[in-house]
């Protein structure tokens, strides 16, 4: 017979896991801060961040390619332009305002955003609409953690992400290549999906400017352009936001822009992709291989029409 001895510690005395973690986090951060005080600011590391079950185990794209091959048109339309010119981007002070159909509109400083939730490492595939892909270890937290801060109203259906325009640091915004500021959007349930994150770093370190410092969206099952960089404003709305690419070429870019090998871009095939660093092409996977997690968001939708 099994005799259960009462626990010699009352449940109320047990530190809740979340609080425990936050204390660890605090210790870690304060130790980090003390260390950071002694080091030049640029060397302050953000990571490594907690490991996540949502991470891919594929070979990661080398850092030099992740930071040297970017589409960030505000800094020029050539892939090498952002690495050359984005150092000018002013990332401090930085505020993010969250507004629209929310109970508690808020403006948060970047320092508060970095402390908002424990940072996780999320190793995701990134598939560009142009037919290339990478595997990037991001550092960030779920978009949901951010949106919970402002308590979206029941009427909120969409989330609009508005990114920075700094004419004095961004040589590209002088041209009319796209409609500035660069705007992206998600349906609220997409934004609340655990895979959708706000990234503040990559490869265990602060996000490089050319990758969208100081904070950007990462939605791994959609084409890369959906993941807006250097976000300054988030708006919750009841109508579908018109994104910059939809305005630029409505026939070519839809609101959803889920990675879909069966729906071609009008000017190139989406059936295959070249993983940066590889010679042969790979077959592109539905929802960039995240179908199991996100497929249910689109049940009943004709993804050929709602591309």
């Amino acid at each position: 017979m099994l005799i259960r001895r009462p626990d010699d510690i009352a449940p109320s005395d047990i530190t809740p896991r979340a609080l425990f973690d936050r204390r660890r986090e605090f210790l870690r951060l304060s130790a980090g801060a003390a260390l950071a005080g002694m080091l030049p600011a640029a060397q302050a590391k953000l990571g490594p961040g907690r490991a996540s079950v949502l991470s891919s185990t594929e070979t990661q794209t080398p850092l030099k390619h992740v930071t040297g091959y970017n589409n960030y048109y505000e800094f020029g339309t050539d892939k090498e332009d952002p690495a050359r010119t984005a150092h000018a981007l002013r990332v401090r002070p930085w505020t993010l305002s969250i507004e629209g159909l929310v109970k508690q509109p808020k403006t948060l400083g970047i320092e508060d955003i970095l402390k908002l939730a424990p940072l996780e490492e999320r190793i995701y595939r990134l598939r560009c609409v142009e037919g290339w892909s990478m595997v990037i270890p991001w550092l960030g937290f779920p978009v949901a953690s951010l949106l919970k801060q402002v308590e979206p109203l029941g009427s909120a259906k969409y989330v609009e992400f508005i990114t920075a325009v700094q004419p004095e640091t961004m040589p590209g915004v002088g041209s009319r290549v796209l409609d500035w500021p660069y705007i992206e959007g998600l349906r609220l349930d997409e934004a609340m999906h655990p895979l959708a994150i706000i990234a503040v770093g990559l490869y265990g370190d602060v996000l490089p400017n050319q990758n969208g410092a100081p904070l950007r969206l990462v939605v791994p099952w959609k084409y890369g352009f959906k993941s807006g960089k250097s976000i300054v404003r988030i708006r919750l709305t009841d109508s579908e936001p018109r994104t910059s690419w939809m305005k630029s070429a409505p026939r070519e870019y839809g609101f959803y822009s889920n990675v879909n090998p069966e729906v071609d871009h009008p000017r190139w095939s989406q059936a295959t992709e070249r993983r940066i660093g590889e010679f042969s092409k790979r077959t592109t996977l539905m929802f960039n291989g995240y179908g199991e997690q996100v497929g249910q968001l689109y049940t009943g939708m004709d993804l050929r029409k709602q591309f």
Partner: protein, 216 residues
């Protein structure tokens, strides 16, 4: 002008872009996506050589250096050379010789369609770039055939601009240069026609003839 002194070094210079990309692949200096860099680079150079070839005649005309005309064939064949390499990189590294996929791509994607038409039009020009073909065709027919290079120039720029995602600035620069080079030909034609008309007929009076009363 002794062309034997110019042609061999020019030939070497024309190979420089290819050498640059070959070295770049070896030394890994072409960035994160070297295959794309090579494909686009070779296409750009095919277009560059096309514009250079189209510059020969105006340059000859305005400088008076008649010998320039004798470099045109070599430059034109370099257009074909780079266009062939450009097409090969597409067939090999982009499609891995998947012929059904290539056929679908040509039919479905306008910028590929236009690129293929441009290349197809280049083939007869390259094939007839020899004295035998000129003799066989006769000067006039040969020249008529080779006028399709103007159409090729337009199609090549269209191919480039349809390939680009949003920033049309570079294709527009090429379009402007092609515009000037083709515009010159149109302008010469108009002048030539006026000259012929002037030779054939007496000049017609312009405007109305009015009588002027002269005071005595």
């Amino acid at each position: 002008m002794n062309l034997a002194l110019i042609k061999p070094p020019l030939f070497i210079v024309c190979l420089a872009p290819l050498a640059w990309y070959a070295w770049g692949v070896q030394a890994d200096t072409l960035g994160a996506n070297p295959i794309e860099a090579v494909t686009r680079g070779l296409g750009t150079w095919a277009l560059n050589f096309l514009l250079i070839t189209l510059t020969v005649t105006p340059l000859r005309k305005y400088s008076g250096w008649a010998w320039l005309g004798r470099l045109r064939r070599m430059l034109g064949l370099f257009v074909f050379f780079y266009a062939t390499l450009h097409l090969s990189t597409y067939l090999w590294f982009d499609q891995f010789f998947d012929w059904p996929a290539i056929a679908k791509d040509i039919l479905k994607r306008p910028f590929i369609t236009v690129g293929m038409i441009s290349f197809a039009l280049l083939v007869p020009l390259a094939a007839t770039s020899n004295a035998f073909a000129i003799r066989k065709l006769g000067g006039r027919r040969w020249q008529e055939l080779h006028r399709s290079v103007y159409l090729i120039a337009l199609l090549a720029v269209l191919h480039y601009s349809w390939m680009v995602k949003a920033d049309l600035s570079k294709p527009l620069i090429y379009a402007a240069v092609v515009g000037v080079l083709l515009g010159l030909r149109v302008w010469w034609r108009v002048q030539e026609r006026n000259r012929q008309l002037a030779g054939a007929y007496l000049p017609k009076p312009r405007g109305r003839i009015i009588s002027i009363a002269v005071k005595k």
